[in-house]
């Protein structure tokens, strides 16, 4: 078999079952490295396309559909117009209502909310109520560092104000803001502006600038999933109703690899945490959210959204971000210049990064630091640094790259020890510095 034929027949290997051509294609792949690489790339892409979870029908879909079918049946019966068929229509209607009611009741009876069916139903109603809102404006605070990424939390950090806006109609737009960092999605692109570094980046609407805060802009989705997980007995959730308020509490364990605990409790997902949602029992709308983590044997609140307003008219100016003149553009790995020497691993990256500062070689620095220019603040702070040690890289939590321990002496004589965050999870496999300095 020739390469051209092998490439053509290779698709058969991605079918549910082998075809007669599969054997010869596999034999060719065993002998031909070029075709094997192409096959592996196709395989890798298919794995990427596969969803981490399948989309399922919502819990009321079956009942709604049967209602629609029963309605169609009733219309059919009515169109013939005889008395006995009218009686039949009544029977259909009664049967339809009973079926719909049963389908709606079954999940309530098997849910995990301690038999509090009234509260369970109210939660489902709040999801419906949330689906009708036109805009959400949330104000609160979180324990984080101004200017650092939106995912960062710390039990010891001070509270920083946080504000989020989401417009659903007439077009989807949102804005998330804390001191030092703003992200705006204007309907066609999202822009991140880091005022502490006077740098910015524009990317696709779902670029991930706000990370785990993004789901908060879709509270309806969160509630739906809490409800479904509880129904499927997959979550440790409790719900209570008192004094006109419904409170849903969901406990979750930390995610990630913590053989090295550096990243533990640095984000909500990397912490053992509880999310406490409260809803107005009358309007069914979300009133507040509090997230606490368990750190050092204590429960510490790290996020509070206490002021949630619905259907405010949000001005267009809210979703337009003016980038100051002279701001540094954050670039993609493909746009970075090639390093003068090969950078093969995390330790190489850290060494190259600090050596560039030591020699004030800004061109070299931009080979590992994703920016169009080096901000003056960085030049002043790290210029002529002396590297005292670069330690062994390690991984921790959910971070896709590595942390590299370092100790440096700054130009003013002070010594700094920290972990540099480096990564190469980009299509070019280019090593770059992501933080920790």
């Amino acid at each position: 078999m020739h390469c051209k034929e092998a490439i053509r027949c290779m698709t058969g290997l991605f079918d549910k079952e082998d075809t007669p051509e599969s054997g010869p294609v596999r034999e060719h792949l065993a002998k031909c490295p070029a075709c094997r690489i192409y096959f592996e790339k196709q395989q890798e892409l298919i794995e990427r396309v596969k969803q981490p979870g399948r989309v399922a029908a919502s819990h009321q879909f079956g009942a709604r559909t049967m209602n629609a079918i029963n309605h169609a049946a009733a219309q059919e019966a009515a169109s013939t117009g005889t008395n006995w068929r009218w009686n039949g229509w009544l029977r259909w209607t009664v049967a339809a209502c009973a079926t719909a009611l049963l389908i709606l009741l079954i999940p309530m009876l098997t849910g995990r909310f301690g038999g509090n069916h009234q509260a369970f139903t109210a939660l489902a109603q709040s999801i419906d109520a949330m689906s009708a809102v036109q805009s959400i404006h949330m104000t609160g605070r979180m324990r984080t560092i101004p200017g650092d990424n939106f995912e960062l939390i710390g039990a010891d950090y001070d509270y920083v104000p946080l504000e989020m806006w989401r417009q659903f109609n007439p077009s989807s737009k949102w804005r998330v803001e804390k001191p030092g960092r703003i992200v705006v999605m204007d309907g066609s692109a999202s822009t991140l502006y880091i005022s502490t570094a006077n740098s910015y980046m524009t990317a696709s609407p779902n670029a991930g600038f706000v990370e785990w805060l993004r789901p908060l802009l879709d509270p309806q989705s969160i509630l739906q999933n809490e409800l479904d997980a509880a129904r499927a007995k997959q979550s440790d959730a409790t719900i209570a109703k008192a004094n006109g308020t419904i409170t849903l509490t969901v406990q979750s364990d930390a995610k990630g690899d913590f053989k090295n605990s550096w990243a533990k409790n640095k984000s909500i997902l990397e912490s053992d945490h509880a999310c406490i949602y409260t809803f107005d029992a009358a309007t069914k709308l979300l009133k507040s959210l509090r997230v606490s983590i368990r750190a050092g044997g204590q429960e510490v609140t790290v996020l509070e959204l206490n002021d949630i307003r619905y259907d405010e008219v949000l001005p267009d100016s809210l979703f337009a971000l003016q980038i100051p003149a002279g701001a540094t553009q954050i670039v993609t790995p493909a746009e970075m210049s090639a390093p003068a020497t090969a950078i093969l691993d995390p330790k190489d990256t850290a060494t190259y990064f600090f050596n560039a500062f030591a020699q004030e070689d800004w061109s070299a620095l931009l080979s590992v630091y994703p920016a169009s220019t080096v901000p003056d603040g960085l030049k002043k702070y790290y210029g002529h640094v002396t590297v005292l040690s670069i330690g062994q890289p390690f991984q921790s939590g959910l971070y896709p790259g590595y942390f590299v321990p370092y100790q440096i002496r700054l130009a003013d004589g002070s010594v700094k020890s920290h972990n540099l965050a480096v990564r190469n999870d980009n299509p070019q496999k280019r090593w770059m510095v992501d933080g920790g300095f």
Partner: protein, 187 residues
């Protein structure tokens, strides 16, 4: 009770049979429609329309033996209609539901990935994207895909291969930005 694994060889004729059909096929059809339309609300509307039409046409459809595949074909056609008449909220503004045992933030993050994937597939020719969705996301064989889209198996395979090649090019470009955007500046 029918399960999704069982073939359905006779078009249902009674309300009770339709109820069993809905229970057995709703998740697969909504999953398929979701990947065609990009949001749960439109997907469920499209699938519900198909079930109602399937009921109304039950007399004319008695001869059909591949009921499940025929339903997929009906949903596919309905989704094409939806694309033409789209007037609803943008894709990322609605409730999506992903069957998963992960915690909510992870699940909603997965939904974001679903929406992102939908957006990327929108960037390649629709006939090729459709075949990729059916084979990978709905787990149909190429022969089943061919029946649903009404073409031959070799054509389906070609569309699959060309579609993957184009998708890789799109991902390579988009991947650049996403890798840089996430967790930039880790404390």
């Amino acid at each position: 009770m029918l399960t999704t694994a069982q073939p359905i060889s006779a078009w249902p004729q009674t309300i009770e049979e339709f109820e069993r059909l809905v229970q057995a096929t709703q998740d697969d059809l909504v999953n398929f429609a979701f990947h065609q339309l990009g949001n749960q609300e439109d997907a469920e509307d499209a699938v519900q329309d198909v079930y109602v039409q399937a009921y109304r046409d039950r007399g004319k459809r008695r001869h059909i033996t591949e009921v499940r595949l025929y339903l997929f074909r009906m949903v596919r056609n309905r989704c094409i209609d939806f694309h033409r008449l789209r007037l609803r909220r943008p894709a990322d503004a609605v409730t999506d539901q992903v069957a998963s045992s992960e915690d909510t933030f992870s699940v909603v993050a997965e939904q974001e990935q679903s929406k992102e994937l939908h957006r990327l597939l929108e960037g390649i020719p629709s006939r090729e994207a459709e075949v990729i969705r059916l084979r990978i996301l709905s787990e149909m064989s190429f022969a089943e895909v061919a029946l649903i889209v009404g073409t031959s198996v070799p054509t389906v395979k070609s569309r699959f291969r060309y579609g993957l090649d184009k998708l890789r090019r799109v991902l390579n470009v988009e991947g650049e930005t996403r890798c840089t955007a996430k967790k930039l500046f880790v404390a």
